[in-house]
C-alpha cells in the first residue's frame, strides 16, 4: 500500500495547478457570464502536452497515466468547471474511442491531432429518445456503395461546435437491438452535418454543448470505428473511463467551493467573531474536507486500477457516484456558509453551485451509476 504520488505525478499536479491558477481561473467568472469557449486555454494546454496525457507519444500523447490525467482534470476543474468538462470530454469521450477501438490508420489520422490539442474531441451518443437508455438509439447508418449514409439527431454533445470530427453512434442492424449499433467517425465539414442548438445551460457555460443534426451525411466506408455492430460495447467501455474524469471534475469543483468557504468563514464576522468560530460552520467545513478527501481517494483508486490493467468498472461508477453527490452537497453548503453573499454572482460559490449539478447527470446519471454498481455486486 502506498498513497504517495510518484515524482512525475506530483510534478504534473504542481504544473497544472500553477497553470490553472494563472491561465484559467482569472477569467472563469467572465466565461461563465459570456459563455466564451476557452480555445486559447486549450491551445496552451496542447502545447504543454495536457490534451493527450494518457496516450502514448506515437499517437500524439504524453505517455502519462490515468492517475495523472485525473489529477489534471481536478486541477483544471477547480479553476473553471466548464473548462474542466470540455477537457475531460475531449480526452475521455473524444480521444479515447480512437485509442481503444481505432485501426492503426485511424489512430494516426485522428488521434494524433486531437491528442496534440489541435482540435477538440467530441462523442455523440445521447439522442432525444436515447439518454440513459442508449440502446434506444434512433440515428441510422445505411451502406450505399463505398459509403455510409447517416441520418439522425444527437443532443447535448460537449465540444461539438469546436470539433473537426465527432464519433457518433448509429443503428446498423435494427433487428439486433443494442448489438446492432456501430460507431462512426464523422467530419463536421461533411455536407448534411449541421450544428443545431447551442444550449443555454444552468452552469458550465464555458463548455460548449450543442445539438448535432445529420441529414444524409455521407462518409467513406472506412470511417466505421472498430468493428461493425460493436458500438454499444465500445461506448460502455468509453464511459467506464470517462466516469473517472467526471469524478475528478466533481472533486475539483468541490475543492474550489470548499476553499472559498474556508477562507470566507475565517473572514466573515458576526456576533463579534469570525463565523468559523461557530461549531455549526466548523462542522460543515469538516464534512466538506472529509468528503472531498474520500472522493479523491476513490477516484485515484479507480484510475490506479485502470493503469494496472485491472477491472475498474465498479470502482469508477462508485467514484463518480460518490464524488458527484458529495460535491453537490459541498457546493450547497458552500453557498450556505456564505449566506446571502453566496447567492450573489460576485462570489464564486454561486457559480460552483450551478456548475456541479451536471456531474450527477453526465456520463450516466446517479441512478445509472447505482444500476451499474448493483449489477457489479450481484444484487440485480
Amino acid at each position: 500500500m502506498n498513497f504517495e504520488l510518484t515524482q512525475e505525478q506530483d510534478m504534473i499536479r504542481k504544473m497544472v495547478r500553477e497553470f490553472a491558477e494563472a491561465e484559467i481561473a482569472p477569467k472563469a467568472a467572465e466565461r461563465d457570464r459570456t459563455g466564451e469557449f476557452p480555445q486559447d486555454v486549450f491551445h496552451k494546454m496542447g502545447e504543454l502536452g495536457l490534451m493527450g496525457i494518457p496516450f502514448p507519444e506515437e499517437y500524439g500523447g504524453s505517455g502519462g497515466d490515468t492517475v495523472s490525467y485525473a489529477i489534471a482534470v481536478e486541477e483544471v476543474s477547480r479553476a473553471c468547471g466548464g473548462t474542466g468538462l470540455s477537457y475531460a470530454a475531449h480526452i475521455s469521450l473524444g480521444c479515447s474511442p480512437f485509442y481503444y477501438f481505432g485501426t492503426e490508420e485511424q489512430k494516426k489520422k485522428y488521434l494524433i491531432p486531437l491528442a496534440q490539442g489541435k482540435s477538440m474531441g467530441a462523442f455523440g451518443l445521447t439522442e432525444p429518445n436515447a439518454g440513459s437508455d442508449a440502446g434506444g438509439t434512433q440515428t441510422t447508418a445505411v451502406e450505399d456503395g463505398d459509403e455510409w449514409v447517416l441520418n439522425g439527431t444527437k443532443i447535448f454533445i460537449t465540444n461539438a461546435a469546436y470539433a473537426e470530427v465527432v464519433v457518433v453512434t448509429a443503428v446498423t442492424d435494427k433487428s439486433r437491438g443494442s448489438r446492432g449499433i456501430s460507431s462512426f467517425i464523422v467530419p463536421t465539414s461533411s455536407p448534411g452535418f449541421k450544428i443545431g442548438t447551442i444550449y443555454d445551460k444552468l452552469g458550465l457555460n464555458a463548455s460548449n454543448t450543442a445539438e448535432i443534426i445529420m441529414e444524409d451525411v455521407r462518409i467513406p466506408k472506412e470511417n466505421i470505428l472498430g468493428k461493425l455492430n460493436e458500438g454499444y460495447k465500445q461506448f460502455l467501455i468509453t464511459l467506464d473511463g470517462g466516469r473517472i474524469s467526471i469524478a475528478a471534475m466533481a472533486v475539483g469543483i468541490a475543492r474550489a467551493a470548499y476553499e472559498a468557504s474556508l477562507q470566507y468563514a475565517k473572514e466573515r464576522r458576526q456576533f463579534g467573531q469570525s463565523i468559523s468560530k461557530f461549531q455549526a460552520i466548523q462542522f460543515k467545513l469538516a464534512d466538506m474536507a472529509t468528503h472531498i478527501e474520500l472522493a479523491r481517494n476513490m477516484t485515484l483508486k479507480a484510475a490506479w486500477l485502470k493503469d494496472q490493467g485491472k477491472p475498474f468498472k465498479k470502482e469508477a461508477a462508485m467514484a463518480k457516484l460518490f464524488a458527484s453527490e458529495m460535491a453537490t452537497r459541498v457546493c450547497d453548503q458552500a453557498v450556505q456558509i456564505h449566506g446571502g453573499y453566496g447567492y450573489m454572482k460576485e462570489y464564486p460559490v454561486e457559480r460552483h453551485y450551478r456548475d456541479i449539478k451536471l456531474c450527477e447527470i453526465g456520463e450516466g446519471t446517479s441512478e445509472v451509476q447505482r444500476l451499474v454498481i448493483a449489477r457489479e455486486i450481484g444484487a440485480s
Binding site: 512525475e8 510534478m11 500553477e18 504543454l48 495536457l50 504524453s62
Partner: protein, 255 residues
C-alpha cells in the same frame, strides 16, 4: 556553451510560515524553485535552445531538493547535481565554497543564479561564488544577450537601464523581469526522470567540512508582530495634520 545554473529549493511564496520551538516548520509545506533562480533556469534553457550547449543545474540542499532539480530538468535542463551532504550545509560563506568546489570540477562559460533566495534574502551567494572562482559577475540582470564569448546585460539602476558587456566566463544573477519562466511540459516531465542526477558528498568534491563551517549563527527566529488595525483621521484638514504630527511624535515615536 556550457552553462551552470545554481538553484535553491524554497518555500512556495504562498506558504504560511509557522515557527515551532524556534524552528520554521516544514510540515505539509509546498516547495518550489526559488523564483529568482527560476528566471536563471529559464534564461539558460533559452540560450541553449537558441545557440546550443548544455545546461547543468546545481543545488546544495536536503534530498527533497531533488524535486526542484527535476522540475528544472523537466523545463529543459540537461543534467543535475545535488549536494545533499548535511555536513556541507551552512551559511552563504559555506554554500558558496561548496558551489565553487563543484563548479571547478568542470569548466563553465556561463554561471547563472537568482540574485537572492526568497527565504534568507541575503543576495550574497552569487557574488561570493564569482569571487571564489575568480570570475567577473553582474548582479540583478533584467536582460541578456550572448554573442560569441561576450555577454551584454541590462540591469535596472534607479529607474534607468544600465547596459554592461563582459566576456565569459562570467556569473550573472537574475532579477524579476529577465523572462517569463515556462511551465514544464508533460513530455518534459516524463523525460526528466531519465536525465542524469548526480549526488555528491564532501568526499566527492574533496572538501573538509570543518574548514568551511558557517561564519554566522542564527540565534533566534520569530514572526513579525501582528499588524494592528489602521487608524483613519477625521475632521478638518488642519486638525488632521496636527493630530498626525502628534501621533507620529508621541505614539509611533518616529519623529
Amino acid at each position: 556553451m556550457n552553462i551552470l545554473v545554481c538553484l535553491k529549493q524554497t518555500f512556495d511564496t504562498e506558504e504560511k510560515i509557522v515557527i515551532e520551538n524556534g524552528e520554521i516548520s516544514e510540515d505539509g509545506v509546498e516547495f518550489v524553485i526559488n523564483p529568482y533562480d527560476e528566471y536563471a533556469v529559464e534564461e539558460a534553457i533559452k540560450i541553449k535552445e537558441e545557440q546550443g550547449g548544455e545546461v547543468t543545474v546545481l543545488s546544495v540542499g536536503p534530498s527533497r531538493a531533488e524535486s526542484a532539480l527535476r522540475t528544472a530538468l523537466a523545463m529543459g535542463a540537461d543534467k543535475a547535481i545535488l549536494v545533499d551532504d548535511e555536513s556541507l550545509f551552512g551559511d552563504e560563506y559555506t554554500i558558496s565554497k561548496v558551489l565553487a568546489a563543484v563548479a571547478k570540477r568542470d569548466s563553465y562559460d556561463l554561471i547563472l543564479g537568482g540574485y537572492m533566495a526568497v527565504d534568507d534574502g541575503s543576495a550574497q551567494v552569487g557574488p561570493r561564488l564569482a569571487e571564489e572562482l575568480d570570475i567577473p559577475h553582474i548582479s540583478t540582470i533584467t536582460g541578456l544577450e550572448v554573442n560569441g564569448d561576450k555577454v551584454k546585460v541590462e540591469k535596472d539602476v534607479e529607474g534607468d537601464t544600465e547596459i554592461i558587456e563582459a566576456s565569459m566566463p562570467v556569473l550573472l544573477t537574475a532579477q524579476q523581469g529577465l523572462n517569463e519562466p515556462r511551465y514544464p511540459s508533460l513530455p518534459g516531465i516524463m523525460k526528466a526522470k531519465k536525465k542524469p542526477l548526480e549526488r555528491l558528498t564532501a568526499g566527492d568534491i574533496g572538501i573538509n567540512p570543518d574548514e568551511i563551517k558557517a561564519k554566522t549563527e542564527v540565534l533566534d527566529q520569530f514572526l513579525p508582530p501582528k499588524k494592528e488595525a489602521g487608524k483613519i483621521l477625521e475632521g478638518e484638514l488642519d486638525d488632521q495634520v496636527k493630530e498626525l504630527v502628534q501621533l507620529l511624535r508621541n505614539e509611533a515615536k518616529v519623529i
